[in-house]
C-alpha cells in the first residue's frame, strides 16, 4: 500500500465519521484540509491533492442548491454534478451519501419528503453520468440540519441543498 493510498483511506475514514456525527452533517467546506503543500510538492489529502476529500468539497463542489419548494437542478447545479461525476468515476474507492435538506419554511414531514426529492435529483443525475448506483445512498434531513441559521432568504437559499458526502475505503 502506498503512502498516498493510506492518506486517502484516513481522509475517507474522517469523512465517514463526520457522517455519523450529528453535529457535523453537511457542513462541508471545513473538510480535513491537512495543510497547504509546501514548495512545489502536493501534500496528500490537502485541497491541492485532486484525489482528496478536501479537493472534492472545495474545488469540485460538494453541493447543489435549489429554489423554494423545487427539486429540479439548475444549470449551475448540473455543472457541479458533472464535476462530481467525473471525480467519482476517477476515484472509484469512494462511495457517497447524498443528503437532501430544506429550509425552515414548511412542516417537518413535508420537508423530509422534499429533502428526499432533492437528494434523489442529485443522485439520479450522477447515475445518468455513469456513476454506479450502488455507490450512492440518499438521506433526507428535512429542516433538521440548516447550515445557516438566520430566518431570511440569504440563509434559506444556502439551506435548500443536496450535499454529496464522501465515504472512503470502498470494498477495495
Amino acid at each position: 500500500m502506498t503512502f498516498n493510498l493510506k492518506m486517502i483511506l484516513v481522509v475517507g475514514a474522517l469523512a465517514l465519521s463526520a457522517c455519523t456525527n450529528p453535529n457535523g452533517l453537511g457542513t462541508g467546506g471545513d473538510g480535513p484540509a491537512v495543510g497547504k503543500g509546501t514548495g512545489t510538492g502536493i501534500l496528500p489529502g490537502s485541497v491541492n491533492d485532486p484525489t482528496s476529500v478536501a479537493y472534492f468539497q472545495q474545488v469540485v463542489g460538494d453541493r447543489v442548491l435549489f429554489t423554494v419548494d423545487q427539486s429540479s437542478l439548475s444549470p449551475q447545479g448540473r455543472v457541479v454534478l458533472d464535476g462530481q461525476a467525473t471525480w467519482l468515476l476517477t476515484n472509484t474507492d469512494f462511495t457517497a451519501v447524498i443528503e437532501g435538506h430544506a429550509d425552515e419554511q414548511g412542516t417537518t414531514a413535508y420537508n423530509l419528503a422534499l429533502g428526499a426529492r432533492r437528494a434523489d435529483a442529485a443522485r439520479s443525475y450522477l447515475v445518468s453520468k455513469g456513476v454506479a448506483s450502488n455507490r450512492l445512498k440518499v438521506v433526507s434531513y428535512g429542516k433538521e440540519r440548516p447550515i445557516e441559521v438566520c430566518s431570511d432568504e440569504a440563509c434559506y437559499s444556502k439551506n435548500r441543498r443536496a450535499v454529496t458526502v464522501l465515504a472512503g475505503g470502498l470494498t477495495g
Partner: protein
C-alpha cells in the same frame, strides 16, 4: 364501584382507585344546576374557590395545600374557570363533613366550591372531594374518594379537577393525561433532540431517549402504552415503537435504501400508517405491527405524508402536493380515491383528526406566517386559531377541546416552545418545559 388500573410509566408506578364518598346528608337537587356550555361564543369564566384540602391526620397539611393548588391551576388553565384567591375567603373549611356556609361563599361570588380532604399515611395517599353549587345551595354530584401512592399525588389532583370540569361542562376533562414530545436544546444548526414525556401541564418530565440521534414526531398509541417515533439511529430515518413502561424500543421493519417517517397508530393500536420515501417519491403505507406486513396506500408521483386516522379507523386524512402545493385530502383507510378538503389560500399540512371525529386540526402557511387551524371534514368553517413566524404540529386534548402545538421563534437564536389553545382560538398558553419543546402528542385520558 371500584376502579383499579395499573398505570406504568418510565419511573413511577401509580395505582389510582376511585370510590364514592357516602353522603353525609341528603342534599336538595338544585333547580338550575351550575353549567358551562362550552359552545357559547363568549365565555365568562366561572368563579370558583378551592380552599386547601383539609388534613385528616398530622403531616397532611402541606399535601392538602399542594393538591388544592394543582386543582385550581387545572381549572383556571382551562380558561373556563376563574379562581377566587384565598385572601378573599371569609369561611375557613376545617372539617370535610361540616355543613357548607353558603352565605360566606356567596358573599365573595364563588359560584362553585371544591372542598377536599387528604390523608397521607406511610406511602399512601387518600383524597376525598365534594363539589358544591353555591348559589343553588347544594352539592353537585356526589363525593368521590381517590387513592394512590404519594408519588401519584398530582394525578389525584388532576382527577379531582377532571371530575369538577366534567360535572360543570357536561364533557369529559383532559387534566389526567400526558404528553410525549421532542425536547430540544442547542442552536438551530446543532440542535439536540430527545424524546420526553410529561404530565399535560409540564410536570414530571422524563426523558425516553438520549440525544445522540435526531428523533422526530412521537405519537401515542390509543391507550397511551406505546409511542411511535422516527429516529436517525442508523443514519437514516426509520420508525421505532417504544414501550412507555419499560422504555424498550424496537425498529419497525423497513427495506434497505428507503426512509420511513410520520407514523401514527390506527385507533385499535394494531396498525401504523406512515410515509416512506423511495427515490424521489414519498407515499403512504400501513404496517401491521405484530406481523410486519405492509400495504401501499398511494402511488402518485407527488408527496403524500402526515397521515392521521379517523377515530373509527375507516378513513385517513393526509397531506399531498398532487395539486402543486401541499393540501389536505381524505381517503379510505385501505387506500383508494382521495377527496381534497382544503381549498383556502396557502399551504396546508400536518392534519390531525379530532377525537370527536368532527374536525381536523392542521398547520397552515400563508403569506409568510404559520397558523394552527381547524376545519370540518368537508373543508368548511375553517378557523385559524393562532398566527406567528412558525406554528406547527397540532395535537388534540383527549376531549377535543384544546390543541397543543409548538411555536418556533425567528432568527439565529430561535427556539421552540410548546403552547396550547382552545379550539375557539381563546386561551393561548405556553406549556413550560425544562428545555425547548416541539411536536407534542397528547395521550388519552388516563384510567
Amino acid at each position: 364501584m371500584i376502579l383499579r388500573v395499573l398505570i406504568a410509566c418510565a419511573v413511577m408506578l401509580v395505582t389510582v382507585s376511585v370510590t364514592p364518598v357516602r353522603a353525609e346528608s341528603v342534599t336538595p337537587v338544585p333547580k338550575e344546576p351550575l353549567r358551562i356550555v362550552i359552545d357559547e361564543g363568549v365565555i365568562e369564566p366561572l368563579p370558583f374557590a378551592t380552599p386547601d384540602f383539609v388534613p385528616e391526620n398530622a403531616g397532611s397539611a402541606k399535601m392538602g395545600a399542594d393538591l388544592a393548588r394543582v386543582v385550581a391551576a387545572d381549572l383556571q388553565g382551562s380558561g373556563l374557570f376563574r379562581e377566587i384567591p384565598n385572601s378573599a375567603v371569609i369561611s375557613q373549611v376545617s372539617d370535610f363533613g361540616a355543613p357548607v356556609q353558603y352565605a360566606d361563599w356567596k358573599a365573595i361570588n364563588a359560584e362553585a366550591l371544591v372542598v377536599g380532604a387528604v390523608n397521607v399515611s406511610g406511602g399512601n395517599l387518600t383524597v376525598k372531594f365534594r363539589l358544591y353549587d353555591v348559589f343553588s345551595g347544594a352539592e353537585l354530584g356526589s363525593g368521590l374518594q381517590f387513592q394512590s401512592t404519594t408519588d401519584g399525588w398530582r394525578r389525584l389532583a388532576h382527577k379531582v379537577a377532571d371530575a369538577v370540569y366534567s360535572r360543570i361542562t357536561g364533557e369529559s376533562g383532559y387534566f389526567d393525561s400526558r404528553v410525549v414530545y421532542v425536547s430540544q436544546s442547542g442552536p438551530k444548526d446543532k440542535r439536540k433532540k430527545r424524546l420526553a414525556i410529561m404530565d399535560y401541564d409540564g410536570a414530571n418530565v422524563k426523558y425516553l431517549t438520549d440525544s445522540r440521534a435526531i428523533v422526530l414526531a412521537p405519537r401515542f398509541s390509543p391507550n397511551g402504552d406505546r409511542v411511535l417515533y422516527t429516529s436517525y439511529e442508523t443514519g437514516f430515518p426509520r420508525i421505532y415503537v417504544l414501550e412507555v413502561g419499560s422504555v424498550q424500543r424496537r425498529v419497525l421493519e423497513s427495506a434497505e435504501g428507503v426512509m420511513s417517517f410520520a407514523p401514527r397508530f390506527s385507533p385499535n393500536g394494531q396498525t401504523v400508517v406512515y410515509s416512506q420515501a423511495s427515490g424521489s417519491n414519498t407515499d403512504l403505507f400501513t404496517m401491521d405491527i405484530s406481523s410486519g406486513r405492509t400495504q401501499r396506500l398511494t402511488s402518485a408521483p407527488s408527496i403524500e405524508t402526515a397521515p392521521s386516522y379517523s377515530p373509527d379507523g375507516t378513513q385517513i386524512v393526509f397531506e399531498s402536493d398532487r395539486s402543486g402545493a401541499p393540501q389536505l385530502y381524505v381517503m379510505p383507510a385501505n387506500g383508494g380515491e382521495a377527496r381534497r378538503i382544503s381549498f383556502g389560500e396557502g399551504r396546508y399540512g400536518t392534519p390531525v383528526w379530532s377525537p370527536r371525529g368532527d374536525l381536523v386540526a392542521f398547520t397552515k402557511q400563508s403569506k409568510g406566517r404559520f397558523h394552527i387551524g381547524v376545519m370540518r371534514l368537508d373543508g368548511k368553517e375553517e378557523r385559524l386559531l393562532t398566527a406567528s413566524f412558525l406554528d406547527e404540529a397540532p395535537t388534540w386534548s383527549p376531549n377535543g377541546r384544546v390543541i397543543m402545538f409548538h411555536r418556533e421563534t425567528q432568527g439565529a437564536s430561535g427556539s421552540s416552545t410548546l403552547y396550547s389553545v382552545d379550539i375557539t382560538g381563546r386561551n393561548l398558553r405556553s406549556v413550560r418545559t425544562p428545555e425547548g419543546g416541539s411536536e407534542p402528542s397528547w395521550s388519552p385520558l388516563q384510567k
